[in-house]
Symmetry: C2
Subunit: 493 residues, 2 copies
């Protein structure tokens, strides 16, 4: 969920200055149009990791826009008045009116999330998220434009930030005990936030994850998102209706894509490979015969560039498995019978029972990759695919499945070399088709689709593993190692 | 939720026969069109009280339609295959394909509801209903038309039905231990079903409550609903999108309305009234000073025909209350400030704190009464009002509020007499306006709106009380008695 917001994004001072004035003016323009028309309110919820610049963002928006038309509310511990009434009461009280912008520092999301962080049950958390969804749907139906920001920092960056603030006597007061306490709980907070965003990301009130490390990047990203959401809504007529699909995706402001941060060239000699392979296959075999494996199942998903070596990696796994335990499911175009069903049906029918292993060679991710890029699915359909895929995978996970997803990444040059080799090698010729060459022309479209896919569908429970695969040996070892470690973590000793 | 389905509806044999042939033919026609076009599947879920005719309904549909194009699945205790996989897996497996009709006898709703009936937590129940909503939204987005029937019986009718079946040796086998067990749990099942339907009634997969007492009424109602839903959907083009509002309302087949079953003329002499009034006021006063009243609050809603005596009833209550504890909120047209907010905002701001009493003289129900009848709100807007009102009131209830809603009902003749009296009496002349006369012309529209309102918003936790009010004395005593009993039930001794 946070992958692209964890690679670090920076906008230099000159670029920032060059854009700031125009952005401010444009924001003021839409704010006045909003005031003039006064036919809907805007509610901005600001959340995120401590130290990621939530307060600064709130101040920045107040500085850029006309603060007289902004209603800001910070929610802290509830007082008696609040405790005596239903949970949502204090948020209703602070709603902005039509034509105005309301900004909440903390909200009902904080209540639900920290209750869960502090040990509340998963069922209670889900129930509260359901309460929130109903509230936000009602607000959307009444015309409220709700925008939700999650300002993000990695654990390391957070620590650095706190240390730096503490060192300077002028800013030391900014770091409180509760900040360090949340720092200790970082992983749990990250996981709970991820769950919350997965279940409450809707087209009518979308979440936007923003890397909060660099103030310039953060401010411009939030400012631009606010501008575009307001503009888009102002262009619609008064008969606006909330859509039921999920929130749109925008590429990062600095065009720095997650996949580009992956070092594709890794070294591993053939002899080292063979030695490690044998050890890992033995380790894997033992794990699948572990006493507790029977309480789980294993679902592996292989996706990657054409010719990235999915088949080869899968074979190195199946060599280590008992043939009665596993099934490899290659996914191509759906059959007639499958086409006559909801799109996920053909994957539901392959769900393994306890103690079983299903390996998908390509998968349901076709929905947000090939179907998106080639236009086989409408935008609304592939967009809701993220939500539906997450829902599907987390049902598997909650039922005990260990779900691992691998993206095998190679460079365009490496792909070209492999394509040529396939054409030259008789017994590999079937592996290369016209379609592969056509896909290659859409390299950049696929790259963006892959990055969006990972941001939307990688979670702590069901993570994506990005595998640098220019070196096949390295890739296979990486896959097997990841599998063994995940199994060990879940099965215990 | 079940009010209209509990007054008993009957269709005589001749009327049934007269309609059956045409209905069957029409159903077959739409079934073949569905098959021809094969662009969406239909899923029918059959639920309800034991003995209300679930099996018979399933058989009836199979008899009326072409059973070769119907896929029926009954879900009982899960076997090993099912238990090893996620909850929803077995339902995915049995989905009908495009062009076909699937019928589920029991479904994911039974799993969730009986887990709650058997003592599962409220949070787990809500979480499961959220899971179901996500599934059904996904199915709707993929084009599946989901129709959900709840066949209903009162507890008494259920008992009678079981006894009759047991008496006849030919049918005694139909009654099982589990039926009597569910009969014992009737009230709990009714309450859990109500909660489930309240949270999962959507425009794209609506619930329909059908009185199951009379086979003719039940079959024709289900058949007609099926026909109209299929026709409506077949008329839409292929770009059909699920709407985000709630399910439409149809009047009962026999046009027998709930309000008409209410005996409006009740007797109570002035002297009896005065005696009872004094006792009730004393009892009420004591209850509001009860030690545990401070953990609760009291929200009273008064609605009714014009001149039904709302004001008079409210005064008899406030006479018994400490002025520091209560507030009477008369609801008229919203102010400018209120109009600039989501519609429920003006009621949220009136939510009382603990130990306090708020009396609404008219209320949020204007949304589904005057705004519906006069066309001030769009159909989609007042329709979603039921869902939103339920959500609002149950948040109050869950927070400890005792919410009581009174509908004061008088006959048209009684109203006319009161209007005339008001015109003749100087100090009452302000109480009668042109608008009152205009509303009178729409008597029937209001009557239907009131019945729908009660069916959609009366729940065990937040019930409506229908008050026959042709006799003012009787009405006031009925209101005070209901209040005292509700307070006693909630506060204990």
């Amino acid at each position: 969920m946070f992958e692209s917001a964890e690679i670090g994004h920076v906008i230099d001072k000159a670029s920032y200055k060059a854009e700031e004035a125009a952005l401010r003016e444009a924001l003021l323009d839409v704010q006045y149009e909003l005031k003039q028309r006064a036919d809907f309110p805007v509610l901005i919820l600001i959340h995120g990791m401590d130290g990621a610049g939530r307060g600064e963002t709130l101040n920045q928006i107040n500085e850029w826009l006309d603060p007289r038309l902004i209603h800001t509310a910070a929610f802290d511990k509830p007082n008696d008045d609040v405790r005596e009434r239903p949970w949502m009461w204090r948020y209703w009280r602070e709603l902005p009116q039509k034509g105005r912008i309301g900004m909440f520092f903390g909200s009902y999301y904080s209540d639900a999330m920290f209750a869960r962080v502090d040990g509340g049950s998963r069922d209670t958390y889900d129930k509260q998220l359901f309460d929130i969804l109903r509230l936000e749907r009602m607000l959307a139906n009444d015309g409220v434009l709700v925008l939700k920001f999650w300002l993000h920092l990695t654990r390391e960056t957070q620590k650095k930030r706190f240390k730096a603030l503490e060192k300077d006597p002028a800013t030391a007061w900014r770091v409180h005990d509760v900040d360090w306490q949340h720092h200790e709980q970082y992983e749990r907070i990250r996981k709970c936030a991820e769950h919350m965003m997965r279940l409450t990301n809707t087209a009518y009130s979308p979440w936007l994850v923003v890397n909060g490390e660099d103030a310039n990047y953060r401010s411009l990203t939030v400012g631009r998102a606010l501008l575009s959401a307001l503009k888009q809504r102002l262009e619609m007529d008064h008969n606006w209706q909330p859509r039921s699909d999920v929130a749109p995706i925008t590429p990062p402001l600095d065009n720095k894509l997650l996949l580009e941060s992956l070092p594709l060239d890794q070294k591993l000699s053939k002899s080292d490979y063979q030695q490690q392979l044998e050890a890992l296959q033995g380790r894997l075999n033992k794990l699948t015969r572990h006493a507790r494996f029977g309480e789980h199942s294993l679902v592996l998903v292989f996706e990657g560039n054409d010719a990235a070596g999915k088949g080869g990696a899968i074979r190195r796994i199946t060599q280590a498995l008992d043939a009665r335990r596993y099934r490899v499911v290659p996914i191509a175009a759906p059959s007639d019978e499958e086409r006559a069903q909801p799109w996920l049906w053909r994957f539901w029918r392959q769900v393994p029972g306890k103690g079983k292993i299903t390996i998908f060679d390509r998968s349901w991710y076709g929905r947000v990759l090939v179907e998106r890029v080639e236009g086989f699915a409408s935008t609304a359909d592939w967009m809701r695919g993220y939500y539906e895929i997450n829902d599907f995978e987390h049902q598997l996970h909650d039922n005990g499945a260990i779900v691992l997803k691998f993206w095998l990444a190679i460079s365009p040059d490496e792909q070209l070399a492999r394509f040529k080799l396939r054409e030259e090698t008789g017994f590999k010729r079937f592996k290369i088709t016209e379609e592969d060459w056509r896909n290659r022309d859409k390299w950049d479209d696929y790259k963006l689709a892959v990055c969006n896919m990972i941001d939307r569908t990688s979670t702590t429970a069901v993570p994506w593993t990005l595998v640098p695969a220019n070196n096949k040996y390295y890739a296979r070892i990486k896959v097997l190692t990841t599998m063994c470690e995940a199994l060990e973590a879940r099965l215990g000793n």
